[in-house]
Amino acid sequence: MLACLCTVLWHLPAVPALNRTGDPGPGPSIQKTYDLTRYLEHQLRSLAGTYLNYLGPPFNEPDFNPPRLGAETLPRATVNLEVWRSLNDKLRLTQNYEAYSHLLCYLRGLNRQAATAELRRSLAHFCTSLQGLLGSIAGVMAALGSPLPQPLPGTEPTWAPGPAHSDFLQKMDDFWLLKELQTWLWRSAKDFNRLKKKIQPPAAAVTLHLEAHGF
C-alpha cells in the first residue's frame, strides 16, 4: 500500500493537469473550444438548411444521400471507431486543425459563388466563426505543446472545379462540403469532450494531490 502511494506521488509531477499552481492549464481553452464547436453545429444547421434550399431538390431533401463522387478532396470526417480511439491527443488535434483549414477554404469559395446577398452574409459570418474555431484549436495545441501543421506552399486547397465539372456535380460538391462540415463538427465535439475529460483531473486526484502536499 505504501509502495502504491509512493508510486503515485512519484508520478504526480508528470501529470500536467494536477500541477495546478496558478496556471489554469489548457482546460478552459478546451472547454471554450468545445463550446464553440457546439455553437457552430447549431449555426451550421440553420445555414445548411438555407443553402440546400438554394440549391434545390434533391439536395434539400432530408434522405438524399448521394455517392461521394467529386468531393474526394474534402477531408473525410468519418473514421473507424477503433482508429478514432487509438488516436493520441496530438494527432487528434492535428486532424481537426487540418480538416477545418481545408473546409474553411472551400467554404470561402462557396461564399464567392453565392448569388444572394443574404446568403453571402450568412456564409461570411459562419466563415468568421469557423476561423475562430481554428484559432481556438491552435490555442489548445499550443497549450499542449503540439506544433501547428505547416501547409505546403502552393497546395492551398481551392474550390474551383475544372471546366468539365458540370454544375450538377458542383452542387453535389457543395452538398458534401456542408455534410462533411457537419460531421466534422460532431466529431470535434466528441474529440474535445474526450480531451476535456482527460485533461481535467477527477476530484479524487485533486484530493490526493492536496493530501500529498500535507503528507
Partner: protein, 976 residues
C-alpha cells in the same frame, strides 16, 4: 475601217466561244461535290458544326451555290432533317454551317451529308445537284468515360418558356432508372435501347442556381442543371441629365434581372449616334457619359441591353440645355433673425459662367407651408422671410433649377430657426370667485393661460396690481410665477380694481381689469335646466343697463369645488350660450351662474341654473321609518332622504303597498311591475312632491298583514327602494289593552327605581343585622338594675356534637395540575366528620366554645354535588408526604392547585359555601388540628366569613392528610 470591223467581229466570236467553252467545262468537267467534311459538336449550345470545301473552282472564280444538307440520327437511313444553305463560294474556301439539335447530341449518333448546286445566273445550265458527299458520322459516346449512366445536356441555358429535351444514356441493361425534374418524377420516350428522352415544355424560372434534373438507379445519381433565364426586358424610363455640363448621368429601369449563378451575362452598353462613341456600363441601371469640350448640344443615345440569349435597345434624342438638373444647394443659414423677420442665405454650385439658377424657397410652420418664393441666384442666394410670428419655430427649404429650361428641380435642403420673443399680444382672460366674510372678502382670481400664438414667448410670471377704489392712493403689487393660473387675495369690504398682466422676457401683455365691489350679496332663484348631448343651453334675460358683457361660470366637477373652475365670456348682445365640456358626466349636477359685467367692470349675479347633462335614476334608497301604527293606519317617513345629491332631479316617490285585499286602497293604483305578482295585490301611490317625505297609509284592516316600500323617481326612472317593510296592524282590543298596561308598567318601574334608591332604608326596615347581645342596650339596662340573677346565656349551655362535612366526590376524575396525573384512585367513600369538640375519650376539659351557624351565608350547601370538576390536592404518596408537609413547598403547591382549580371550574359551578368559623383554635397553629384548645376565652367572638370553594369544603380530612379548608389559606388571609 473594215479591218477594224473584222477585228471586232472576230473578238466577239472569240469571247463567245470562250464563254461557251467555260460553261461546258463547269457542267461537264467540274462536279463541285462538297468535300473534306468535318463535323464537330458544341455541347453547351447543342450545335452540330460542319465544315467543307468545294474543289474544282477556277481561280478567282466566285459562284453562288446552294448546298443541300441531310442529317440522320442513330443510322444514316433515319433522316431527321433536310435543308438548304445558299452562299457564295470562292476557290479553296472552307464553308461552315451549324445546326442546333433539339435532342442533346451526346445521346445519339448523327450522320450528315451534303450535295451542292450552282445557283448562279451566269451559268444557267449548271443548275443540277451534284452527287451526295459520303455520310459523315459524329458520335461522342465513346469519349464519355466508363460510367454507366449519363444525363444530357449539361448546364444548358434557355429562356423562360422554352421547350427543352433532356436525355439519358444507360450503358446497363437495367431499366430501373427513375428521373425527376426537381422533386417530380417524369416519364420519357425511349429512343434507343439505351437512350431515353424527356421533352420539357414551357420551362419556368425557379431559382438562380438552375433547375435540377436527375436520374437515379440504385445509389447512382446523375443529373444536370438546366439554367432557365428570365426573358430580358427592354430598359424603361431611360433618360440622361447633367448637373454641371461636364457629365451626363443616364439612368433607366432594367426590369427583371436575368442573371443566373453561372450565367451572369446581362449587360448594358451606351451608344451615342453623333459622336459614334460607345461605352460599356458598369451598372445595370445607370451610366455616366463624359461631355466633351466641343460643346455638343444635341445627343442621340441608344441603350443596348443584352445577355447570352437576347438583345434589346432603346434610344433618346435631347438637347443638353434641356436636361439640366442642378446640384442641391448648400450652406443654408439664417442671419439677423428677429421676432418677425429672418434673412435666409444659401449657396449653389455654379453651372457656367453666364448661367443662373431659379431657386424655390418654402417656409413651413407647424407642419404646413406658410410662404413660397422664387429667387434667381448665380452663386449666393438670400431671401428675407418676413411676417413671422414671434417665438415660433420655422423650417425653410430651398431647391434650384436651371432658369433657361426647368427640367428638374434639385433636391431640397432645409434648415430650421426660431424667431425671437415679443411681448404678449392680448390681455388675459380673467375671472374671479368672491367669498364674502364678515368684514372681509376672499377673492380668488383665475386666468386662462395665453395661447402660444398670443404669448409670443415663454410666460415667466403674472403681475397682479390691486387698487383700493375707496382709497385710490393705495396700490398693492403681487407677482405670481408661471405656470400658475390663479391666485387668492384677502381684501376688506372696500371696492377694488384688480389689473392682471402676463409677462415674458420681453414685456407685459395688456392688463385685464376686474372690479370687486364690497357688497355683492345678491341672491337669485335657481332655475333648473336640462342638458343635451351638445351641452347645456344656458340663456338669461337681457339686461337693459350698462353691460360690457356676460360671464357664465361653472365647475367641471362639482363635487370638488377646487377642481376646474370654468367660465365663458359672452358679448353684450348675446343672452344665451351652449356650455359644452368633455368633463360633463351623466348623473352629475352642474350649477351655472350668469353674471353681468357692467361698464365699470363690476360683476353682478343675474341668474343661477342647475341641471344634469343626462339624468339618471336615483342611486340611494330612502330610509323609511314606520310609526303611529294603529289598527287602521300607520305613518311612513323618510325625512333624511337627500334629494339634492341624487343623479337626477327627484320628481317624487312611489309608495307600494302589498296586501291580501282584492282592491287597492283609495288613492292607490295597481302596480304594473314585472317583478311583482298579483298575489298578494300590490298597489302604488304616487307622490309628486319631492319634498313630501311623509305618508300616512290609511284605511287598513285591523290584524292584517301588509308590506310596504317607498322608491324615489326622476325623469330617468324609478330608483331603488329598501326591501318591503312588513307590517301587521294590531287588533282594536289589544290596542285598548296597551293603553292600560303601559301606565301600569310605568308605575311599577317608578316604584322599583325608588326602592333601589332607598335600598339601605329598606334593608334596615325589612331585614336588619343580627344584633350583638354584648352590645345590646338591654344589657346595660339590666346591669344598671344590678340584678344578679339575670345573665346572658353561657356558652356552655350549647354543646354541638359534631359538624357534618358533606363530601361527595363520586369518583370524579381529578387532575394533578402540577404533575398531570389522574387521581381517580383517590376515593373518599365514607363521609368525613370533623369533630370540632373533643370526644369524651380525648377531652380533658369541657369545651369552652359556642358556635352559631349562620345559614344566611350557607348559600350553596345543597349544591355541593354540582361541582362535578372537583380539584383535589395533589396526590402525594405517604412516604413523600412526610417530606413535603413539613415544608412550605407543600403549601405553595396546594395553593397553586387551588388557584388553578378555580380557573378550571366553570362559572356556574363556582358556588361558594360560606362556612361560619370559630377562629380561636386555628388562628395560631395552622399545621395542627384543634384537638386541644387551650384558650377558650376568645371563642365567644363572631368571625368574619371566609370564602371557600364548595369543592374544597368537601375535602377529606383524614389523619394523614389532615389539611382542612382552613389550612389552605395563609395566615394573612384570616380576617379578624
Amino acid at each position: 475601217m473594215a479591218v477594224f470591223a473584222n477585228f471586232q467581229t472576230t473578238f466577239f466570236l472569240a469571247l463567245l466561244f470562250l464563254r461557251i467553252s467555260q460553261s461546258e467545262v463547269l457542267s461537264e468537267h467540274l462536279p463541285l461535290t462538297p468535300e473534306s467534311l468535318k463535323i464537330s459538336i458544341n455541347s453547351a449550345r447543342q450545335y452540330l458544326h460542319v465544315q467543307w470545301t468545294v474543289r474544282n473552282l477556277l481561280y478567282h472564280q466566285e459562284l453562288k451555290m446552294v448546298f443541300q444538307i441531310q442529317i440522320s440520327r442513330f443510322n444514316s437511313s433515319n433522316i431527321i432533317w433536310v435543308g438548304n444553305y445558299s452562299t457564295t463560294v470562292k476557290q479553296n474556301q472552307v464553308l461552315h454551317w451549324s445546326w442546333e439539335s433539339e435532342l442533346p447530341l451526346e445521346c445519339a449518333t448523327h450522320f450528315l451529308r451534303i450535295r451542292s448546286m450552282v445557283d448562279d445566273a451566269s451559268f444557267p445550265k449548271s443548275t443540277i445537284w451534284s452527287n451526295w458527299s459520303s455520310w459523315e458520322k459524329v458520335d461522342v459516346q465513346d469519349s464519355l468515360g466508363q460510367d454507366t449512366l449519363f444525363v444530357f445536356p449539361n448546364d444548358k441555358l434557355v429562356e423562360e418558356g422554352s421547350n427543352v429535351t433532356i436525355c439519358y444514356i444507360s450503358r446497363n441493361n437495367q431499366n430501373n432508372i427513375s428521373c425527376l425534374l426537381e422533386d417530380e418524377q417524369i416519364n420519357g420516350e425511349q429512343l434507343d435501347p439505351h437512350v431515353f428522352a424527356f421533352n420539357l415544355n414551357n420551362v419556368p424560372f425557379i431559382r438562380e442556381t438552375g433547375t435540377n434534373f436527375y436520374c437515379q438507379r440504385n445509389k447512382t445519381v446523375k443529373g444536370i442543371v438546366l439554367f432557365v433565364s428570365k426573358v430580358l426586358e427592354e430598359p424603361k424610363d431611360f433618360s440622361c441629365e447633367t448637373q454641371d455640363f461636364k457629365t451626363l448621368n443616364c439612368t433607366w429601369d432594367p426590369g427583371r434581372n436575368t442573371d443566373l449563378r453561372k450565367h451572369a451575362s446581362q449587360r448594358y452598353t451606351l451608344f451615342e449616334f453623333y459622336s459614334g462613341e460607345k461605352k460599356l456600363c458598369k451598372h445595370k441601371n445607370w451610366c455616366n457619359w463624359q461631355i466633351t469640350q466641343d460643346s455638343q448640344e444635341t445627343y442621340n443615345f441608344t441603350l443596348i441591353a443584352e445577355n447570352d440569349l437576347r438583345k434589346r435597345s432603346v434610344s433618346i434624342l435631347f438637347n443638353l440645355t434641356q436636361r439640366v438638373r442642378p446640384m442641391t444647394p448648400f450652406s443654408v443659414s439664417f442671419e439677423t433673425v428677429s421676432a418677425t423677420n429672418a434673412m435666409m442665405t444659401w449657396k449653389v454650385h455654379s453651372i457656367g459662367n453666364y448661367s443662373s439658377l431659379l431657386c424655390n424657397v418654402e417656409l413651413y410652420g407647424e407642419g404646413r407651408m406658410i410662404q413660397q418664393h422664387n429667387v434667381s441666384v448665380k452663386v449666393n442666394g438670400e431671401f428675407l422671410l418676413s411676417e413671422l410670428e414671434p417665438n415660433t419655430k420655422y423650417t425653410a427649404q430651398v431647391r434650384c433649377a436651371y432658369d433657361k429650361h426647368i427640367w428638374k428641380w434639385s433636391e431640397w435642403i432645409s434648415q430650421s430657426f426660431i424667431t425671437l420673443e415679443a411681448a404678449p399680444s392680448v390681455a388675459l382672460d380673467v375671472w374671479r370667485n368672491v367669498k364674502s366674510k364678515p368684514g372681509s372678502q376672499n377673492v380668488i382670481l383665475f386666468w386662462k393661460p395665453l395661447s402660444k400664438f398670443h404669448a409670443n414667448g415663454k410666460i415667466l410670471f403674472y403681475n397682479v396690481v390691486v387698487e383700493n377704489l375707496d382709497q385710490p392712493s393705495r396700490l398693492e403689487h403681487y407677482t405670481i410665477p408661471a405656470p400658475a393660473n390663479g391666485t387668492e387675495l384677502s381684501l376688506d369690504q372696500s371696492s377694488y380694481e384688480i389689473r392682471i398682466t402676463a409677462n415674458n422676457s420681453v414685456g407685459s401683455s395688456p392688463a385685464s381689469v376686474i372690479v370687486i365691489s364690497g357688497n355683492s350679496t345678491e341672491e337669485v332663484e335657481e332655475e333648473k335646466i336640462k342638458g343635451t348631448e351638445d351641452g347645456f343651453p344656458v340663456s338669461w334675460k337681457p339686461h337693459s343697463g350698462d353691460v360690457l358683457g356676460y360671464v357664465v361660470e361653472w365647475y367641471d366637477c362639482p363635487q370638488d369645488q377646487l377642481c376646474d373652475f370654468q367660465w365663458e365670456n359672452v358679448g353684450p348682445g348675446n343672452t344665451s350660450i351652449v356650455i359644452s365640456s368633455d368633463a360633463f358626466r351623466p348623473g352629475v349636477r352642474y350649477n351655472f351662474r350668469i353674471y353681468r359685467i357692467s361698464t365699470k367692470r363690476i360683476a353682478y349675479l343675474l341668474e343661477k341654473k342647475t341641471g344634469y347633462s343626462k339624468e339618471l335614476v336615483p342611486s340611494t334608497k330612502p330610509q323609511v321609518v314606520m310609526n303611529n301604527l294603529t289598527p287602521h293606519s300607520f305613518t311612513l317617513s323618510w325625512e333624511n332622504y337627500p334629494t339634492e345629491s341624487q343623479p337626477g332631479f327627484i320628481q317624487g316617490y312611489h309608495v307600494y303597498l302589498k296586501s291580501k285585499a282584492r282592491q287597492c286602497h283609495p288613492g292607490f293604483e295597481k302596480a304594473n311591475l314585472p317583478e311583482i305578482t298579483d298575489d298578494p295585490l300590490c298597489c302604488k301611490y304616487k307622490i309628486d312632491n319631492p319634498e313630501q317625505k311623509r305618508f300616512i297609509v290609511e284605511n287598513l284592516q285591523p290584524e292584517s298583514f301588509y308590506e310596504v316600500q317607498v322608491t324615489p323617481y326622476t325623469s330617468a326612472g324609478e330608483g331603488p327602494g329598501e326591501a318591503f317593510m312588513k307590517v301587521t296592524t294590531p287588533g282594536e282590543e289589544s290596542h285598548k289593552l296597551i293603553r292600560i298596561l303601559l301606565p301600569m308598567i310605568f308605575c311599577i318601574l317608578v316604584i322599583m327605581i325608588a326602592c333601589y334608591m332607598k335600598s339601605q332604608w329598606v334593608k334596615e326596615k325589612c331585614y336588619p343585622d343580627i344584633p350583638d347581645p354584648y352590645k345590646s342596650s338591654i344589657l346595660s339596662l339590666i346591669k344598671s338594675k344590678e340584678n344578679p340573677h339575670l345573665t346572658i346565656m353561657n356558652v356552655n349551655d350549647c354543646i354541638p356534637d359534631a359538624i357534618e362535612v358533606i363530601n361527595k366526590p363520586e369518583g370524579t376524575k381529578i387532575q394533578f395540575l402540577g404533575t398531570g396525573k389522574s387521581v381517580t384512585e383517590l376515593e373518599f367513600t365514607k363521609p368525613a366528620y370533623l369533630y370540632l369538640l373533643p370526644t369524651e375519650k380525648n377531652s380533658s376539659s369541657p369545651s369552652p366554645c359556642i358556635c352559631f351557624e349562620n345559614f344566611t351565608y350557607n348559600q350553596a350547601a345543597s349544591d355541593a354535588e354540582s361541582c362535578g370538576h372537583v380539584l383535589e390536592p395533589p396526590f402525594v404518596p405517604p412516604s413523600q408526604l412526610g417530606l413535603v408537609t413539613s415544608s412550605e413547598s407543600l403549601l405553595k403547591t396546594l395553593e397553586k392547585s387551588y388557584m388553578n382549580s378555580l380557573e378550571e371550574i366553570p362559572a356556574e359551578e363556582t358556588n361558594l359555601n360560606y362556612v361560619s368559623q370559630l377562629a380561636s383554635p386555628m388562628s395560631g397553629d395552622k399545621d395542627s388540628l384543634p384537638t386541644n384548645p387551650q384558650v377558650p376565652v376568645h371563642c365567644s367572638e363572631y368571625k368574619m366569613q371566609m370564602a371557600v370553594p364548595p369543592c374544597l369544603t368537601a375535602s377529606p380530612l383524614s389523619e394523614k392528610s389532615s389539611l382542612s379548608s382552613v389550612t389552605l389559606l395563609d395566615q394573612d388571609e384570616h380576617f379578624h
